[in-house]
């Protein structure tokens, strides 16, 4: 056996498989925020591969891509010969994870929670997994400070001025898929001092036109997919579901990079600030 291994008891909430005694040298990172944290911890040179969602920072794009986080192919993962896999929650399928267990490759699933504390826990978990506790502590403190700062700024917004924000995941086929509670979008809207316009359900759902009209969002938040925003905003706001909303009247559409906005990684405090500023102007 290549890795004499022992079981490390998990501190906090994160799930831990077996970890090697020596610090891992060939790390496979699954999930955009995990990859960002690894780079932020100065361990980018240890990465041998990434998943499709890991698009930041720039050097990550040069790494081999093992596919979509939820549809990992077992042999593809094994082929990059990792000695540690760190993944966001929800990596799969189960069959692939089973094979990785068989192959005795340490697999760390980092907990996901869409709050400031969630980010800090993620940093801790990744730091422990790649055995960079000092760097992790430093990054954690820096991010914690940024988060506190954003929270303080956002707190200055008067309760009456809080904007109702509708996050739209997609408008494919003229049907609006929007975010309820318990999602990364809901988390970032809160952090930025907004109110999620849809709080009756959890997760992402296809909405009826009337329900959206009823939700009366002041601002529409979407992921930035490139292209001509002027034209697409006009088109978006003339959809029957949206045309009656306050957001359509003021043309308030905010688009941000998906990973930046929803990643819940080291840049999230900054993202929350960017969003808050687009909602309320300079704070």
């Amino acid at each position: 056996m290549r890795h004499p291994s022992f079981t490390l008891l998990a501190a906090g909430a994160f799930v831990v498989a077996t970890l090697p005694v020596q610090a891992a040298e060939r790390v496979l990172s699954i999930g955009g925020s995990v990859t960002e944290i690894i780079y932020a911890l100065g361990a980018g040179d240890k990465l041998v591969a990434r998943d499709t969602t890991s698009s930041y920072p720039e050097p990550a794009l040069d790494l081999p891509d093992v596919g979509y986080i939820r549809a990992l192919a077992p042999e593809g993962v094994l082929s990059v010969n990792p000695d540690l896999i760190i993944a966001e929650a929800g990596a799969g399928p189960v069959e692939t994870l089973d094979v990785l267990t068989q192959a005795e490759i340490p697999f760390v699933e980092v907990p996901d929670a869409y709050t400031g504390d969630g980010i800090l826990a993620k940093i801790d978990a990744v730091g422990t997994a790649i055995e960079r506790p000092d760097a992790a502590r430093a990054l954690r403190d820096k991010v914690a400070a940024e988060l506190t700062e954003v929270a303080a700024k956002v707190a200055s917004v008067r309760q009456d001025d809080r904007k109702r924000v509708l996050f739209i995941l997609s408008t494919r086929g003229g049907r609006v898929m929007a975010s309820g509670t318990g999602t990364a979008a809901d988390g970032i809207i809160r952090m930025a001092g907004g109110t999620n316009a849809l709080s009756e359900f959890e997760g992402y759902k296809l909405m009826t036109d009337e329900a959206i009209s009823q939700a009366a969002p002041d601002v529409i938040l979407m992921m930035d997919r490139g292209g001509d925003h002027g034209a697409s905003n006009t088109e978006l706001l003339s959809m029957p579901a949206l045309v009656t909303t306050p957001a359509a009247k003021t043309g308030a559409v905010v688009r941000m990079n998906g990973l930046y906005l929803l990643g819940f990684g080291p840049r999230t405090a900054q993202a929350a600030l960017t969003l808050a500023q687009s909602l309320y102007g300079a704070l």
Binding site: A73, P74, G76, G90, E95, T96, V99
Partner: protein
């Protein structure tokens, strides 16, 4: 005319010149067996990781234990995947051929006419609503729930399809295709409702499953799908003479001693069982069921006695080829195999339509 005299038997000197398609088909079977064996070896030998089949075999021969990587890649990843791929490829091609024989139309394909969608609906139902089954039942049936539900979905939709599109023993192709579209839409709609109800974990299972992939191949899945598929194919081969006679029409088949109703039930059952477990194991994989039988009919004729076994062989070989592409083209990531078969199969399907435009207008 009463006695078969020697002079009677010797008549027709030109007989030897008539191409005997049965013999050609048997020769083709041999070729296909070799191709399948080759495809199996290639699929075991090639993969994203550099693990060498030959190195492992040499070790086995010399009694050296395999290292862990070799064991996992060859035994836990490639071999179950090759087995499942072979089974599913054979199942899809034979189901297609049987369905075409049953509907007396070379365009009938479980994937195209809604049987796949029905099986898919069954699978989705089991994934989303499986949690409502009593725990004891869940534990007892475990991994069988989804295949069984997919089978029931496929069976139900085949029965509906047959009832709707066949009247007085004749199948209207247009009705069949339209009914297939309607069934597909219905299954899609119900699936949509279920997806709306699904929680996050179920959604993940669904997305992965819907993409149609062999990446989740395990020994467990092969062991569940294997017996069902092997029995369905064996059963289908046993129906071959009946399907041949059915080509002359239901009445003619009945006068030729075929218990038509029972044979049709058996054919529908076998199609649904094979399609159901294949869909449950790998999600929707299109076009194998239509392209393989068509190519074989062109090559050696429509006799189901040879068509069905050859379809099993060629279907398995083709799907292994598609899976090889799927596993290696963008390695270390994978293309869903459904995309590969669609890219390869859809043009062939269009070509069939172009060559035989009259088919749909019957």
């Amino acid at each position: 005319m009463v006695a078969l005299t020697e002079t009677d038997r010797s008549m027709g000197a030109s007989r030897a010149e008539i191409p005997d398609r049965r013999r050609q088909a048997r020769k083709l079977s041999l070729v296909l067996v070799c191709l399948l064996a080759l495809a199996i070896v290639i699929n075991l030998a090639l993969g994203a990781s550099g693990t060498s089949l030959w190195g492992a075999l040499a070790k086995l021969a010399s009694g050296t234990p395999l290292d862990m990587m070799e064991r996992v890649v060859l035994w836990d990843i490639r071999l179950p995947r090759v087995v499942l791929c072979t089974l599913v490829g054979a199942a899809l091609a034979v189901s297609g051929a049987v369905m075409q024989g049953l509907f007396r139309n070379p365009l009938a394909d479980p994937g195209l006419v809604g049987v796949g969608a029905g099986a898919g609906l069954g699978a989705i139902l089991s994934i989303v609503l499986g949690g409502f089954l009593p725990v004891a039942l869940q534990e007892f049936f475990g991994a069988y729930v989804t295949p069984a539900a997919a089978f029931l979905g496929g069976w139900g939709s085949t029965l509906i399809l047959y009832r709707v599109s066949t009247r007085g023993g004749r199948t209207s192709v247009a009705t069949m295709l339209l009914a297939g579209i309607a069934l597909g839409a219905l299954a899609g709609a119900v699936s949509g409702v279920l997806i709306y109800m699904a929680d996050d974990q179920q959604l993940r299972d669904l997305t992965f499953w819907q993409m149609g992939s062999l990446a989740g191949a395990t020994w467990e899945k092969s062991l569940i799908a294997g017996p069902v598929i092997v029995l369905s194919i064996a059963g289908a081969t046993w129906l071959a003479h009946g399907l041949n006679c059915l080509a002359l029409g239901e009445a003619a088949a009945a006068h030729m001693g075929i218990p038509v109703q029972r044979m049709k039930n058996a054919a529908i059952f076998s199609v649904a069982a094979a399609t159901g477990v294949a869909v449950a194991a790998t999600g929707g994989i299109g076009f194998v069921g239509i392209v393989v039988p068509h190519v074989l009919r062109l090559a050696t004729g429509p006799d189901h006695g040879t068509l069905l076994p050859n379809a099993a062989l060629l279907g398995a070989t083709l799907l292994l080829g598609a899976d090889l592409i799927s596993r290696t083209l963008i390695a270390p990531a994978e293309l869903p195999i459904g995309i590969v078969t669609a890219v390869l199969g859809a043009p062939v399907f269009l070509w069939i339509l172009l060559k035989r435009r009259g088919l749909v207008d019957q």
